[in-house]
Amino acid sequence: SQKIEQNSEALNIQEGKTATLTCNYTNYSPAYLQWYRQDPGRGPVFLLLIRENEKEKRKERLKVTFDTTLKQSLFHITASQPADSATYLCARVTGRRALTFGSGTRLQVQP
């Protein structure tokens, strides 16, 4: 089966630092990976998509990488702010369009 693994331990960092979250996948590389943000009591919100042939994608303070050799994607938030505190989910497409999500990593940015 195709799995997504994310570090289940919360990540605590100081405001202004760069947060780096890891997503590992099993089996064959997906055509793309998606990253979502989820706040308590809310549905996930899409952040970024990175395709298999893209090494890196940026959007404002966010950067995502895709390493098909390591079967890994890294998600970076630079100059982190307390408002970035949330759970971040990595997802791959499985089958026709279904997304398989990791369990998410909770990020806490301390002021």
Partner: protein
């Protein structure tokens, strides 16, 4: 509406009862998805509609779960003979046509089976 809406926001029911959860997708989105999320876990895929038809229902856990989308817009997830293990947040999402388009999620329905 501006986003995906789900009703009710909370549903408490007794074991063995029947429940219906409703999803209103973003207008014009042809694809609609149902997921469920347990505490501390990521969303788990249940079923995906393209238009009125269920294009992939491989995530439905058993035949107690059923979903419809009769007019290609609103969808209803139906759970028969609810069990305590069905307790979770049920999320609905919609997206436009392309396969890699982002999915827009609703706030979810929290189902509690006593």
């Amino acid at each position: 509406g501006a986003g995906v809406s789900q009703t009710p926001s909370n549903k408490v029911t007794e074991k063995g009862k029947y429940v219906e959860l409703r999803c209103d997708p973003i207008s014009g989105h042809t694809a609609l998805y149902w997921y469920r999320q347990s505490l501390g876990q990521g969303p788990e895929f249940l079923i995906y509609f393209q238009g009125t038809g269920a294009a992939d229902d491989s995530g439905l856990p058993n035949d107690r779960f059923f979903a419809v989308r009769p007019e290609g817009s609103v969808s209803t997830l139906k759970i028969q003979r609810t069990e305590r293990g069905d307790s979770a947040v049920y999320l609905c999402a919609s997206s436009q046509g392309a396969v890699d388009n982002e999915q827009f999620f609703g706030p979810g329905t929290r189902l509690t089976v006593l």
